[in-house]
Symmetry: C2
Subunit: 222 residues, 2 copies
DNA sequence: ACCTGAACACCGTTCAAGT
DNA sequence: ACCTGAACACCGTTCAAGT
């Protein structure tokens, strides 16, 4: 009895999603919203393509009716927006932690964050595809998505601005230099996850990412 | 009579597509294949999005049945592949003519061809979207498309290789440096046509493209 | 409050049949 | 040889109805 009650407490406060085994289907799904996001990512990973994902397919995989997703998302794009937003949060974490684990030199920080950007894309290709593919993320319909995207962008721009303040990066609008840096890592990320570059080995990918970021930052020195 | 026969000759040899006015619909379409490509580009331009293009919509715009396109293209992707291939030919012309109209300095050639790449993308956004968006161009199913893409890539790589031979660009695999250059202009092109950068004026776009290419090439000097 | 079933208008694709 | 009409299996989305 004691062990059981301890286990119950564990389930309730530590892992509430384990209170029922997944095989025991209930009419009311546990956390359908998060399950739909997860299933969408799995299907995109499986097909290597976000554009052919269907909402019915996602519903089927979760074991729910065609109409069920509409309780949690206004439409298919809203689900994709949620996936993209999640992706931007993860990307921002990647960028921040890459900077934390390096020296105070803003040039070095900018370089490692560029490599971290590419590493994020190849580690989370399904997220990245949704964040930047067919789905029109330019929409003002998703303000929290927009905010998440700008937060990630700000990390790179801040590294550039502090590099300029220390006189290590050439003068000019930091925004413009950040656009250039973003273009480089975004272009490389897109070409990599769409398999347009004949590189497969992760070490080779990191080598190209380092060559890319080092070349650009070398050219942006003051 | 003389004028009429002269006009007939003109129509037949100079502008054969004018022999019948477009309002006079014939059972057999004049050049359905090319008309479908043209209509697809127009619809993508109208929607600013290639992913929501439907083949039925294209057929409707041309004034033909749902099944008619299948006489000329194996499926929807084959039509998109034709659009993409056309795009790569135009891109290659852009790159070549940008190099022809400049000095013999390979560094300068590389720089203007990078700007020409971005100019192509913003001048032909519908082509560019199809060339690099959802549609999986990695397919070996379209060898002529693949060849057209590699031809465009070769222009940039050759500029880099000759820069290296003259000792103006740092040593290293020219293929890798070309990937880096391609990443930069491709990333900028994608962000621009997806309206992810708040730049609208063409002069501002060219300014950023020049900043980008000049910075990278500066960093690739030997 | 959350989900289902059935329906609507769309889509890609095929195939017999028309000219 | 080239195109149509009708059909099939899919899809996004809605809405009354169920629990």
């Amino acid at each position: 009895m004691l062990t059981l009650s301890t286990y119950d407490t564990f389930k309730k406060y530590i892992q509430p999603q384990m209170t029922k085994p997944p095989s025991e289907k209930s009419y009311h799904h546990k956390d359908l919203r998060q399950s739909l996001i997860k299933a969408a990512l799995e299907l995109i990973a499986q097909k290597q393509d976000a554009s052919t994902l269907s909402l019915r397919e996602v519903a089927r995989r979760v074991g729910v009716s065609n109409a069920a997703p509409y309780r949690h998302f206004a439409d298919k794009n809203a689900l994709l927006a949620a996936v993209a937003e999640e992706g931007f949060y993860i990307l921002t974490r990647y960028l921040h932690s890459s900077i934390e684990n390096t020296s105070d030199d803003p040039l070095h920080q900018l370089q490692v964050s560029g490599v971290a950007y590419v590493k994020f894309a190849i580690s989370h290709p399904s997220h990245y595809r949704v964040m930047f593919s067919a789905f029109k993320a330019d929409n003002l319909c998703y303000p929290s998505l927009n905010a998440a995207g700008q937060e990630a962008f700000a990390v790179m721009m801040n590294a550039i601005a502090s590099g300029q303040q220390l006189g290590k990066i050439k003068v000019g609008e930091p925004r413009q230099l950040a656009w250039v840096t973003w273009s480089l890592v975004h272009g490389l990320a897109m070409l990599l996850i769409d398999h347009q570059l004949p590189i497969i080995d992760e070490q080779d990918i990191v080598a190209v990412a380092e060559l890319a970021t080092q070349s650009l930052i070398n050219g942006m020195r003051s």
